[in-house]
Symmetry: C2
C-alpha cells in the first residue's frame, strides 16, 4: 500500500473545496462569484434550482480519481449515476480548464466564473443535470438506473480504459441498476477495460432513506460479494480521515485492477476475476449547512436540492450561505484573476487524461466506420416476384456474420437471449456469445471474447449498447418486438441525448442506435397475446423527426439493403421490423435497392393498373401485411379482372410524413402521384392502424384512406387466424375494396359474400384442425 | 423437522407424474389422451406449440406445495414466474377439479382430458402461457420480471396469505426481478402475509445458460443472504431424493414463516425478519427425453419448447413420445373414466384451499368497495373563475389522507420516492411510509404499517400495486409523468390481462389501476429535458378503448372530482395528469362536478362568443394549456373586442373519439356543436400534439383543427420559457388565431407583430433575469 504524504492530501482537499465552492456558486450566484464583497441579495439568482445533496460526494470522488489518474497515468472516464449532481461535473470541467476550451466565453478567470455560475440552470444556459452539454459526460443520469450498464458498455473492447462509475444509493433501488451488477459476468479482462463501481451511500433519496444505506453492513457486503465484487469501504464524515481512507482504497482498487488485467493478459484466459469496487458512505449534502431553520440539513434528505431556499429574502439564509461558501476558503483556491491557483492546477491530469476531456466521453471523435461487406453478395436467389421463400432475418444473419468478422474490435450485437430465436445464428459461425460464467459440457458458442452479448434483460442490452455507441463504436440490438417496450424510457433518454448533441458542434456524431425487431406481433405462434405489441413504433415517432427512422422491409433482400443503410448512418435511432418466418421473396436485389432507396413505391408487377390512374390503391407496410395485400390483389384479379388495382409498398415509414415535417417526407405531388387524391386507399399496416393516420392526416385525400392493422386482438394461434382476428386478412381486404370502390358493392354482392364465407371457412378449418388451411398456408404468388 | 413417510412421498410422486403426463398431453395430443391405443400420427396436433422445459419443475413445486397446504391448512396461491410453463398450471387446475368447475365442458374424465389437451395452444382454445384464462393465476409471466413484485403485492394486508412464487433463473436476470428481492424491506410480518420465493435454477433460458445457475454456490447464497433471505437449497435430479429434500425444506420454510409471524404478532414489532426462501436446482425438461437425434435434451436449453418436434412425421420421435408419456404410468394415475384416481384426489387440498380455486387469485370476488369521504368537502374556496390559486395535487392529498383513514386495510399509495414531491404529503397526517429498514434519528413518517410505499423503482411500485389490485384491493400510483414510461411494458401487460378477463364470466371485476401523473412536462423547473415527456398517454391510447381512460383536470376541484370517479371504477386503467404547482382555480365545485361529468364543455364565462357561433374556438386540455388559453383569450378580448371566441375545455380525453370507437366518445352532433365544422380550432394540448389529431381525424371539420403541444423542446428553464419553446404560449396562440381566422391577418398585422415582440421581450427578460416576467408569472384571470 502506498503511504500518502499529508501534503498531497491537503492539496487534494483544497481541490475538493474548490469544486464544492464552484458547485454552490452555480446553484446560488448571479454575481460576486469570488465573494470579493459581502454577499447581497442582488448577487443571488431569483430562482434557486439544482441539487446539492449528491454533489460534494461526486466532487470528492472526482478529486481522488484525478489523483490516481496522475499517479498511474490512467485512461479514465467518470460516469455519474446521480446525474442531477450536475454542478459537480461542471465545476470539475472548469477546474480542469476543459470547460473554457469547449465554451470559450466561459473563461478561466473571475468573469468566466461569473458566467459559469450564471448559466447553470438558467434560461438559455445549461441544464441542472449532467447532460450532453457537460464535457466529459456520456451519461445524463436524469432518469436513474443506467449508470453501471453505460460504464460496462464503455469499456468493452477498450482494454486500456477504466470507467469510474458512481452509483447512487437511490439509483441502486431501480431494476436496471440492480440487474447491472451482473455485467461483470460479461467482461473480459483481456480484451475489455475495467469498471470501478463506487456505490455512494449518502443515505437518502428525495424524501426517504435508501434501502442499501439502512441494511446492516454485513448484509450489504454479502450482497456485493454475491454479485462477484470485492467491496472496499470508505465510511465517515471527517474529511481528513476520509481523504486518507479514500486514497488508500483507490490505490488498492486500481492496483487490483491492474493485477487482474496483467495476469489475464499475460497468463491467458482464466476464471472470472473478482473485481474490486468501492462503497463510499458519506453524508448527503456533506460540508453544507448543518442546520437550517432549526432542522437538520446536512446528512438528511433536506439537502437534496437547495438547502437554503430563502437566501434572497431571508438575511439569515443569506448569512448562512455566505458562511458556507467562505468555509471553502475561496481566497486560497483562486488567484487574483479568478483562475484556480497553481497548486490546484497541477493536481488536474493533463490533456486528454482529464476526465472532462477524455475523447472516450466524446466517442464520435474515436469513431471509425464499419468495414462492411457488400450486402448485395448475400442476396437470395431470385426466380420471380414472390416465387421462392426465405427467412429474412436468417439471411441477414449471414451478412451480420461477415460484419462481425470484418470488425472484430468495434461491432457488437446485443439481445435478450433471442439472437438465435430471431434466426441470426449465422453470426455464431464467426463469433461466440460473451460468457465469463462456468462452462459445462454441451455448451455451444460461449466464450470470453464473443461479439454477441445475450442476457435476459432488455435494460442491460440497451444500456451496454448505449455505452458502447457513446464511446465511438457500432452495434445492433435485436429484440422481440413486444418486449422492446421494456426500454421505452431508455430509448426516450437516448433520443433526447442525441437531439441535444446535434446542437453541440464540439460533440462528434456517433453511430446510430439500431434496433432489429423480429418475432413480431403477427408471428407469436408459441407465445400469444403477451408477446403481441407493435407499439414501439408509436413511441419512437414521438421523438423529433430528424432523429428517428422506421423501416419495414417486406422481404430478405430489402432487409439486407436497409440493414446496410442503418449500419452506415450516424446519430439516428433506426428501428427495423423484420420477420423471421419463411416469407416470399418479392424483389431481386437490384429492385430491392431501388425500392429501399425510394423508401416507398408502386409495385407495378403486382398491380393491375397498367400505369394509369387506378380504381383503388392497396398499400402495405411490413412482411405479413404485404403478403395479405398481394393475396388480396390476386383475389381481386380473379373476381374483378377489369378493376385497376395499384399496389404501393412502404419500407421507410417516414416517407408518409409531409416533406416539411421530416427529411424523408414525400413532397405533396409525389405522395399524390402514388396514392391519388380521390381513389380509395386500403392500407394494410404492420402496427396499430392509427399510426398511419397520424402520419398522413395532412395529406390531400386522407379521407379516402382506410387502414387495417393490429387492433389488440391476439392469442396463441395460427398466423392466418391472427390476421383474421384483426381484419387484416386478404379476404377482409377484398371486402374493404368492394365496400369502398364506388359501385362495386352493388354488382359484387356475391363476391363479397364469398369472401365472408372464405373467412368463416378458414376460421372453422383452423378451429377444427389446429392449423391454417393449405390455401392460405402454402399460397404462393404466381408471377 | 417432520419425518416423511415414504408412502406419502410415493403418492406425491404419483401426483407429480400425473401433472407431467397432463402437461405433455397438452403439448402433443389431439386424441387418445390416455394412450388406450398405441400412439399414431393422427393423435398428434399438426402444430406443436408450448414450452416443456420449465414445466416439470413447476409441477414439482405444485405437488409439494399441495402437501404443505394440506398439512398446515395454508391459505396459499402460486405465482409462476416462468408463465410460459402454462401446461403446468392447467394440468394442476384440472387435477384439482377446478378446471372442470370453471369450464364445464372440460369434464373430469377421459373426454374432458381430450378436450383439455386439444384446447391448449389451439386456435379458439387457450393460450400456451399461464393467462387470465388459467384458474388460480394472477400472473401471466409472458413478459418476464414481475413475479416477485406481484407476489409481494398480493400478501400486503393479507396476513393469512402465503404466496409461493417461482422465480425462473432466466427471469432472475431482468431488472425488475433483480430489484424485487428487496421487497422484503417493505413487508410487515404482523399486518401482511408471507412470500416464499422459490428460485428455480434449471440452468438455461431459450438458448443460453443463466447467470445465476453458473456462478458458484457460495456466491449465489451470499447474494441471496445479502438480499436478506435465508436460502434453503434443493438440488439434484433423482426424484426420490429430490422429493425427500423438497418436503423437508418446505416444512422448514413454512415452519419458519409461521414462527416469524407468531413472534412478530405476539411480541410486537421487532427488527426485519430474515425470511426463508428455496433454491431449487433441477434439470430443465426434467423427466423428458434425455436425447433426441443424438443431441442431449433433458438438462439443456433444447428442452425449452417442444423437445420432440417431428412426432407427426418421424416414427422415431413418435416412439420416443409414447415412451415418454407412458413412463409416467398413466394407467395408475387415472381411473377407468379418465379421472384422477382416488389416491391422487386426496392429495389435493379442498375447496378454496386449492391454489387453482383460492379466491385471492380471483381478487374481484374479495373486493370490497372503498369507503370514500365526500370529495366535495375538500373543494377549494372559490371567489370567482380564475381568481385564487391552489396546488391541485396538494388539495387532492387532503382527500387521499381521508381515503387512507377510512380504508386502513384495502388502500395503498405507491410511488418512486415522489409522493411528497408530488405534494400529496397530507397523507402523512394519517399514515406512514412502509419501512422495515433501520430507523435513525430525524426519520419522519416511516413505519412498518404505512399505507404509502416508496421505493425508487417504478417497476416495483407498479408490480406491487398490480399484485394488490389483482387480489381485490385498491390503490393509486403517483409518478413523475416522464418516468412512468419506465413501466410502459408493465402497463401493456396489465391492460392485456384486463382485456382478457372481461371476456371471462368467472373472473370478477377488480379495482382500476389508477395513475396520478404529476411533476409533469411543463413544470420540470429543477430537472429539465430528461424529465419532460408526456408520451405515456400515447402508449395508453394504443390499448382497447373499453379499458383506458385519460383525464386532464385543469384545477384542484376538477382533480378531486376525477379522483373520486377513478377510485370507484372497476377494470380500467385510469390515467390522471395533474399539476402540483400553484395554478388558478377555474371552477367552483358544483361546476367542476358538472364539467367532469360531461368530460368536455364550453366555458361560457371565459369566452366571448355569447352563445352564438364563434369566429374561432380555443380548446385546451391540461392545467398549463388551460392557463395559456385563457390568457390568450384575454389578449384577444383586448385587441379584438368584436371577435367571438369560444373556449372549450377537455377533461376526459376520450370524449374526442367518435362515439363508435369509445364508450365516452362524443356523438357527432355534440362534437360539432362544440367545435363547429367550419371555424378554426386552436387546441392547446398538454401532450404531443398529434395525439389530438389521432383522436379526431374522423371528425368533420378536422381540417380546421390546429394543435399546439409539446414538441420535444425542453431544458431546465422557467415555466413560461417552456411554453414559449414549444409555441404553446398565449402570444403564440393569439398569433395562431390571427393567422387562421379569415381576414384577421390583413387587418391585424400590428397586433400580430406586437405578439411577436411580446415573445421576444419575454424571452429576453427571462434570459437576462433568470425568471419569467411578472406579467406572465403573476397573471391572474380577471373574472
Amino acid at each position: 500500500m502506498v503511504v500518502e504524504h499529508e501534503d498531497d492530501l491537503a492539496g487534494l482537499d483544497a481541490y475538493w473545496r474548490a469544486a464544492n465552492y464552484l458547485s454552490v456558486g452555480q446553484i446560488y450566484l448571479l454575481d460576486n462569484p469570488l465573494l470579493r464583497e459581502p454577499l447581497a441579495p442582488e448577487h443571488i439568482k431569483p430562482r434557486l434550482l439544482g441539487h446539492w445533496g449528491t454533489t460534494p460526494g461526486l466532487n470528492f470522488c472526482y478529486a481522488h480519481l484525478n489523483r490516481v489518474i496522475r499517479r498511474r497515468d490512467l485512461n479514465m472516464i467518470y460516469v455519474m449515476g446521480p446525474g442531477h449532481g450536475g454542478p459537480a461535473a461542471v465545476a470539475n470541467a472548469w477546474l480542469e480548464g476543459t470547460y473554457s476550451e469547449v465554451y470559450r466565453e466561459v473563461t478561466w478567470d473571475e468573469e468566466g466564473m461569473r458566467r459559469l455560475f450564471r448559466r447553470f440552470s438558467f434560461p438559455g444556459g445549461i441544464p441542472s443535470h449532467v447532460a450532453p452539454e457537460t464535457p466529459g459526460s456520456i451519461h445524463e443520469g436524469g432518469e436513474l438506473g443506467y449508470s453501471l450498464a453505460h460504464a460496462f458498455g464503455a469499456v468493452l473492447d477498450n482494454p486500456d480504459l477504466v470507467v469510474a462509475c458512481v452509483v447512487g444509493d437511490g439509483e441502486a433501488e431501480t431494476g436496471p441498476l440492480a440487474a447491472s451488477w451482473h455485467s461483470n459476468k460479461f467482461l473480459d479482462p483481456v480484451g475489455d477495460g475495467a469498471v470501478l463501481p463506487i456505490l455512494h451511500l449518502n443515505g437518502y433519496k428525495i424524501a426517504n432513506p435508501t434501502v442499501l444505506a439502512r441494511i446492516g453492513e454485513e448484509e450489504l457486503l454479502k450482497q456485493l460479494e454475491g454479485f462477484g465484487y470485492r467491496p472496499l469501504v470508505v465510511s465517515g464524515s471527517d474529511p481528513e480521515v476520509m481523504h486518507r481512507r479514500m486514497a488508500s482504497v483507490l490505490d488498492e482498487a486500481l492496483e487490483e485492477i491492474a493485477r487482474i488485467q496483467r495476469e489475464a493478459r499475460e497468463g491467458g484466459v482464466g476464471g472470472r476475476p473478482v473485481w474490486p469496487m468501492v462503497v463510499l458512505r458519506s453524508p448527503k449534502g456533506w460540508t453544507g449547512p448543518v442546520e437550517v431553520d432549526g432542522l437538520a440539513v446536512e446528512g438528511t434528505w433536506r439537502s437534496h436540492q437547495v438547502p437554503l431556499a430563502g437566501v434572497r429574502s431571508d438575511p439569515e439564509h443569506l448569512r448562512l450561505l455566505e458562511g458556507w461558501m467562505r468555509s471553502y476558503g475561496p481566497e486560497g483556491l483562486f488567484d487574483a484573476q479568478g483562475a484556480p491557483v497553481e497548486g490546484l492546477r497541477v493536481l488536474a491530469p493533463r490533456g486528454g487524461r482529464r476526465m472532462s476531456a477524455n475523447p472516450h466521453a466524446n466517442g464520435g471523435l474515436l469513431l471509425r466506420p464499419l468495414a462492411l461487406p457488400d450486402f448485395r453478395d448475400y442476396a437470395v436467389e431470385f426466380e420471380g416476384h414472390g416465387v421462392r421463400s426465405s427467412e429474412a432475418t436468417r439471411v441477414l444473419g449471414g451478412f451480420l456474420r461477415d460484419v462481425v468478422r470484418a470488425n472484430p474490435d468495434r461491432f457488437r450485437i446485443v439481445g435478450p437471449d433471442e439472437t438465435a430465436s430471431n434466426r441470426l445464428s449465422a453470426v455464431y459461425e464467426a463469433t461466440d456469445k460473451v460468457w465469463r460464467g462456468r462452462l459445462e459440457p454441451g455448451d455451444e458458442h460461449l466464450g470470453p471474447r464473443g461479439r454477441v452479448m445475450e442476457v435476459l434483460s432488455e435494460h442491460l442490452c440497451q444500456g451496454w449498447l448505449e455505452g458502447y455507441l457513446l464511446t465511438g463504436r457500432h452495434g445492433l440490438f435485436d429484440c422481440y418486438e413486444a418486449f422492446v417496450h421494456i426500454v421505452d424510457s431508455m430509448f426516450n433518454q437516448h433520443a433526447k441525448w442525441l437531439k441535444v448533441t446535434r446542437g453541440l458542434e464540439w460533440r462528434a456524431p456517433i453511430a446510430s442506435l439500431n434496433y432489429l425487431l423480429s418475432s413480431h406481433v403477427w408471428r407469436q405462434d408459441h407465445n400469444g397475446f403477451t408477446h403481441q405489441d407493435p407499439g414501439f413504433l408509436d413511441v419512437v415517432l414521438n421523438k423529433p423527426a430528424e432523429l428517428v427512422r422506421v423501416y419495414l422491409p417486406p422481404d430478405a433482400n430489402t432487409l439486407l439493403s436497409v440493414a446496410d443503410h442503418c449500419l452506415r448512418s450516424r446519430d439516428y435511432v433506426n428501428v427495423v421490423v423484420a420477420g423471421k418466418q419463411p416469407a416470399l421473396d418479392y424483389l431481386p436485389m437490384d429492385e430491392a435497392v431501388a425500392h429501399c432507396t425510394r423508401g416507398i413505391g408502386i409495385w407495378e408487377w403486382a398491380g393491375t393498373d397498367g400505369g394509369v390512374e387506378p380504381d383503388v390503391v392497396l398499400a402495405c407496410a411490413g412482411d405479413v401485411p404485404t403478403l395479405e395485400t398481394l393475396a388480396a390483389v390476386d383475389l381481386l384479379r380473379c373476381h374483378f379482372p377489369e378493376l385497376r388495382v395499384r399496389v404501393v409498398n412502404v419500407v421507410d415509414l417516414m416517407r408518409l410524413l409531409p416533406a416539411g415535417e421530416h427529411p424523408h417526407g414525400l413532397p405533396e405531388a409525389e405522395y399524390e402521384a402514388l396514392f391519388t387524391t380521390r381513389r380509395p386507399v386500403i392500407f394494410a399496416f404492420h402496427g396499430y392502424p392509427w399510426l398511419v393516420h397520424r402520419l398522413t392526416y395532412r395529406r390531400r385525400g386522407h379521407e379516402n384512406l382506410h387502414v387495417r392493422g393490429f387492433k389488440e386482438r391476439g392469442t396463441t394461434t395460427t398466423p392466418f387466424d391472427m390476421v383474421m382476428l384483426n381484419d387484416l386478412d386478404r379476404f377482409h381486404l377484398v371486402i374493404d375494396v368492394i365496400d369502398r370502390v364506388p359501385g362495386l358493392a352493388e354488382r359484387a354482392a356475391h363476391v363479397r359474400q364469398r369472401m365472408v364465407d372464405e373467412r368463416l371457412w378458414a376460421r372453422a378449418y383452423t378451429r377444427e384442425f389446429g392449423e391454417d388451411p393449405g390455401s392460405v398456408r402454402e399460397w404462393v404468388w404466381p408471377y
